[in-house]
């Protein structure tokens, strides 16, 4: 049976935190992406990088440790968040040693989640900046972020100002991120690009680069609240952007695909994508996360199948 060896803490201390850099528009102009090439590359990876059997089980266990177990619903309740936290601490009934990376909740539930996870290493991430639309004045976004950090959030998931980005006001986008970063203090900042609203794939790289220059710790694909969420091609571009940024600056930025990832097989594709681009160094919860809710249960079913040869039903898996 495979077990999970967690190298994360050691890796974490090696990683210096990305600071806020000066906005460099020249770099943005040099970055070129070709969508067809991106799709072809993804197709190649998904067809030729598939761990099987024991390898697959190991990969899936690691995938679980990289999940930001998420609930972002209008009907969320404190009880529901507590339930989710319990699941975060014991995501797989048969593997008590495994925990997810974080729970991700609305700001109202940060304290509740914090209490439920006390004493564990599972982080609490809160969405901020008027998630998912971000259509409020900047001072409110800053205020919201500070409040969430004060109530104990370890990580802040902010949204990019798409209006400013699409009208070409890159310095506005940059300024907002940099200010939220400042408001975060010690809390880590994930910047949601909402790639489904950015149009051409070239924009994904541009937005990634701005976010990284503005001090993002993670760049995240989506809110999960619009039709198109995380896709492998978009992640590939963001991972290439991360590598390019790393090669230029020496800072490792994390990546979080979020929304729409429901199948165990998809999580394997994403891990392969990370391995084939930025490489094994990124295969740690410190640098890679899945923003997902139902993914976990499909992984549980898949692991059951790998271990027993039987197909599993959701009825046997505790609800989160």
């Amino acid at each position: 049976m495979s077990t999970l060896k967690n190298n994360a803490p050691e890796n974490f201390t090696k990683t210096r935190r990305n600071p806020v850099h000066r906005l460099d528009l020249d770099v943005l102009r040099r970055l070129q992406v070709d969508a067809t090439g991106v799709y072809d590359r993804v197709s190649k990876i998904t067809k030729t990088r598939n761990p099987k059997k024991e390898r697959q089980e190991t990969w899936l266990l690691h995938a679980v440790s990289m999940i930001d177990l998420t609930t972002l619903e209008g009907i969320d309740t404190p009880h529901r968040v507590r339930r989710l936290c319990q699941k975060a601490l014991r995501p797989l009934v048969d593997c008590p040693e495994i925990q997810v990376a974080a729970v991700c909740v609305y700001g109202n539930f940060v304290s509740e989640a914090k209490r439920a996870l006390e004493g564990s290493s599972v982080k609490v991430a809160a969405v901020s900046t008027a998630f998912p639309h971000g259509q409020v004045p900047l001072p409110l976004k800053i205020q919201e972020t500070k409040a969430l950090v004060a109530s104990g959030a370890d990580e802040i998931d902010m949204v990019v100002n798409r209006g400013a980005f699409l009208r070409g006001d890159y310095s506005r986008v940059y300024d907002e991120i940099a200010m939220i970063r400042e408001a975060c203090g010690e809390a880590h900042l994930k910047v949601i690009l909402e790639t489904g609203e950015l149009g051409e794939i070239q924009n994904v790289w541009t937005a990634s680069e701005i976010a990284m220059q503005a001090g993002a710790d993670f760049i995240k694909t989506s809110t999960g609240k619009i039709g198109v969420s995380a896709t492998l091609p978009v992640s590939l571009v963001m991972l290439n952007a991360i590598e390019d940024f790393y090669l230029r600056t020496g800072y490792r930025i994390g990546h979080k695909p979020a929304g729409g990832i429901r199948q165990a097989k998809e999580s394997l594709h994403w891990l392969s994508l990370v391995k084939e681009t930025v490489g094994d160094d990124w295969l740690t919860p410190d640098l890679f996360r899945f923003g997902a809710s139902s993914l976990l249960d499909d992984i549980a079913r898949q692991i059951h199948h790998l271990r027993t040869g039987q197909y599993e039903s959701y009825d046997y898996i505790p609800k989160g």
């Binding site: 060896k5 070129q32 070709d34 799709y39 030729t48 099987k52 295969l283």
Partner: protein
């Protein structure tokens, strides 16, 4: 030159994670049945070879024998050709719709058995299962689907032309894509109503023999497809067999030249898809990560054993260090190993022989001073494996930058300007493909047009589809595979319709009397000149009177004419079609003003009556107008390929073309050759009728008086027997159009292998008819280029 960049301080340290390994993902082979012994497939029967000889086919990844395969000798080849000939009688006559149904059935069954075929191909060839599964087999089926669709509409493939099948086609295919190459060859041949004798390469016979089973099972009549397995000797017997009407060959340029030589003078139709040394040009505004991936697809796909492999990397110097670093990083992630493992990118080299060739080139590369990089992992020891290899600090003079290696070996060089990139790209005797990387669309199109290669991939590499033509310029061979042009190779096509003659009776013929003595000249580089040698010959009238002393062209005149043509051609081709049309119209106009003189001269020279002479001049004028009108009309297609790319195939001028005219009709034949060639942007060196050169003399004066740019048309008078071999051997001449005697034709076909120039030998019975005027004459002097451009953002 690319300097080795030292790893920067931020270079990723290899960590010691062990969990994220892929492990093995072996393809199941239990469903595959390989027979212990394979016979020849002749006339619908599996027959033992006459001499009873068999050879081993092995799995290159471990050297184990897979099966014994029959070796066909001359007798077997003879039987196969006879079977094909017999089958042709009915196969060529049945309705195209029936052929379509059978081709469709073949395509279907290939897909149904694709897993089995993929495994057989991987076992026999050594290439990774992921390629046979995702590329070789589906693309083979795709070709049968595509040409099934042409079988019932052959008349519509080439508007204005009448087509008929060629007959028995000999097809010889290489070992790098055995089943796929068989499909590329068999599908269009059968669609057009031909029958086939196909010889696979000796190291990879199995998948083709399984294809033969499928062909038989779906009900293709006996003898329509015959498979003769064996070595070069078998191929030679097939090529030289008198019953063969056409040869289609894919393989090395060396063997292609042998075939050209062997078939010289035989009249066999020929299409050759030969080697390459294709460049990949990466500009500083390229999508770099995709370009790196393009390199991987370009040179490491199929272990680099691809005729159009992107074996030369041309990098803009501003991005070279960064690019090389990314490429090396990427090379470390290529997985080399058991080709049956689904997670493997590169399998085994096809044979020990080929592995040794690759190793020899790599040693030579190091010896000549280039710097080698291979990812730091071990190659499997059993079987014929070779690691992906990058050479930097390569110079154009290095062997690895010039010769086709046919292995996973990339030679990288840098350039500074776009012009230098184009120069370097074209600095090769091959012209199969090129890959261009830039996000600047205008630059992309400009470079795509300037690089002399049959296929250009814009922001991509090694993409293929049945709807897109594929084939070479220069020594990469001639003929196209895929698309309608691929079908063209398997038909006889004749221009339809009659050539109208306008009524010239209105023109009054004056008489020329007591004219001043004329000194004929040749036309070279826009100047009327004597022969460099100072030699001349006498031109007599039909009744024996001296009409003129004609310059007797020599080697040096041909040399000068070719130089002039080379200089003039690029600008002539780049000028607008509209401008070329105007110049052609104007030429006709001026020629018309010499109407009476020409008529009388032709009559005096040949002794024909005035009305016949008048008819010839009239037709010649019409012919010039006809081609002037074509300049802005003959064009290409947008191909509906399966990829998302925007894909076009369009004709480009060939370059410098030689034209050898017959003795008669001295004016009409000369005009028939020159004007379609220049209408499409070529520059020409024409050798007019030796015996009746005076009409050419008038044309020289007319061209000199027209706005024709200097060097676009050169006319060298003299003996065809002396001048045509010089043109045939000249390496800067791309094509040669010959009308004349058979012995000389054979000789120039043999000599043409100096640069694999395109040769057309033809002697129309009627120069007045559509045999000598039509769309096919425009096509003759053009080379089809297929351009792929990614079209998504």
């Amino acid at each position: 030159m690319i300097k080795q960049t030292k790893a920067p301080p931020t270079q990723k340290k290899r960590n010691n994670f062990s969990w994220a390994e892929y492990g093995q993902a072996p393809e199941s082979i239990s469903h595959v049945k390989i027979k212990p012994r394979y016979e020849l497939f002749i006339g619908g029967k599996w027959v033992s070879p006459d001499a009873g000889k068999y050879f081993d086919s092995i799995h290159p990844a471990n050297g184990r024998v897979l099966a014994k395969v029959a070796e066909a000798g001359e007798k077997d080849v003879d039987m196969a050709v006879l079977a094909a000939k017999e089958a042709f009688k009915t196969w060529s006559q049945i309705p195209g719709s029936e052929r379509a149904r059978l081709l469709y059935a073949i395509a279907r069954v290939i897909l149904e058995r694709s897993r089995e075929l993929a495994v057989i191909e991987t076992l026999d060839n050594g290439k990774p299962i992921r390629e046979t599964r995702d590329i070789d087999i589906p693309l083979a089926a795709r070709h049968f689907f595509y040409y099934a669709g042409w079988a019932d509409k052959l008349d519509e493939a080439f508007p204005g032309m009448e087509t008929s099948p060629v007959g028995v086609v000999a097809q010889i295919i290489p070992w790098n894509f055995p089943l796929l190459m068989a499909a590329w060859k068999i599908a269009p041949a059968l669609a057009a109503g031909n029958t086939v004798v196909l010889k696979p390469a000796e190291t990879t016979s199995l998948s083709v023999l399984h294809l033969a089973e499928i062909i038989q099972e779906v009900g293709v009549p006996d003898g329509v497809v015959n498979i003769v397995t064996g070595f070069g000797k078998t191929g030679a017997a097939l090529v030289s067999h008198a019953g063969v009407n056409k040869i289609a060959f894919t393989g090395s340029t060396e063997v292609g030249k042998l075939i050209r030589k062997m078939t010289a003078g035989s009249g066999k139709k020929l299409s050759l898809e030969l080697g390459g040394k294709s460049p990949t040009i990466v500009f500083e505004d390229a999508p770099l990560y995709e370009a790196v991936e393009g390199i991987v697809d370009g040179i490491f796909f199929n272990q680099g054993q691809v005729c159009c492999a992107g074996s030369r990397l041309l990098l803009q110097e501003t991005i070279a260090p960064k690019f090389i670093r990314l490429l090396k990083e990427r090379m470390r992630k290529i997985r080399v190993g058991d080709p049956l493992d689904k997670n493997i990118d590169m399998g085994a080299i096809n044979s020990k022989n080929q592995l040794e060739t690759i190793e020899r080139y790599v040693r030579l590369g190091e010896k000549e001073g280039a710097v080698k990089y291979q990812a730091p992992f071990a190659c499997p020891k059993d079987g014929f494996f070779f690691l992906p290899t990058l050479f930097t600090e390569v110079e154009t003079s290095h062997t690895i930058a010039r010769e086709e290696i046919f292995g996973p070996v990339l030679a990288a060089m840098t350039f500074r300007t776009k012009e230098e990139a184009i120069d370097l790209a074209n600095n090769t005797f091959y012209g199969l493909a090129a890959s261009v990387w830039t996000k600047d669309v205008a630059k992309m199109i400009e470079v795509a047009r300037a690089v002399k290669a049959g296929t250009i991939w814009g922001n991509g590499a090694n993409k293929f589809d049945a709807a897109a033509e594929f084939g070479g310029f220069k020594e990469s061979g001639f003929g196209r595979e895929g698309g309608p042009q691929g079908l063209w190779e398997y038909v006889h096509a004749e221009d339809k319709g009659t050539v109208p003659i306008s009524n010239s009776s209105l023109l009054e013929l004056g008489t020329v009397t007591n004219s001043i003595w004329k000194t004929p000249k040749m036309l070279i580089g826009g100047k009327q000149v004597r022969s460099e040698s100072g030699r001349y010959y006498k031109v007599l009238s039909h009744d024996g009177k001296l009409m003129a002393d004609m310059p007797l062209g020599s080697r040096k005149d041909i040399r000068d004419a070719v130089e002039a043509a080379l200089k003039a051609q690029p600008a002539w081709a780049k000028s607008t079609a509209y401008l070329r049309a105007q110049i052609l119209y104007r030429t006709a106009e001026i020629l018309q003003s010499r109407f009476s003189e020409l008529v009388q001269m032709l009559a005096a020279q040949t002794g024909c009556d005035l009305s016949a002479a008048q008819r010839e001049v009239e037709l010649s004028l019409n012919r010039i107008l006809y081609y002037a009108g074509w300049t802005d009309k003959y064009t290409g297609n947008v191909n509906p390929v399966t990829q998302t790319d925007f894909n076009i195939t369009y004709p480009e001028p060939m370059g410098v073309v030689g034209l050898i005219s017959p003795e008669t009709p001295s004016l009409l034949a000369l005009v028939s050759k020159i004007f379609p060639a220049i209408a499409s942007g070529n520059a020409v060196i024409a050798v007019p009728s030796e015996k009746y050169p005076l009409a050419a003399q008038v044309l020289i004066e007319v061209l000199d008086a027209s706005d024709m740019p200097a060097g676009a048309v050169n006319i060298v008078t003299g003996k065809a027997g002396e001048l045509s071999p010089i043109l045939a051997e000249h390496r800067a001449v791309s094509g040669l159009d010959f009308s004349g005697d058979r012995e000389l034709a054979k000789k120039i076909e043999e000599l043409s292998i100096s640069n694999m120039k395109r040769i057309w030998v033809h002697n129309p019975a009627d120069w007045e008819s559509s045999q000598a005027q039509g769309r096919s004459w425009m096509r003759r002097y053009l080379e089809f280029k297929t351009v792929w451009m990614t079209a998504l953002s």
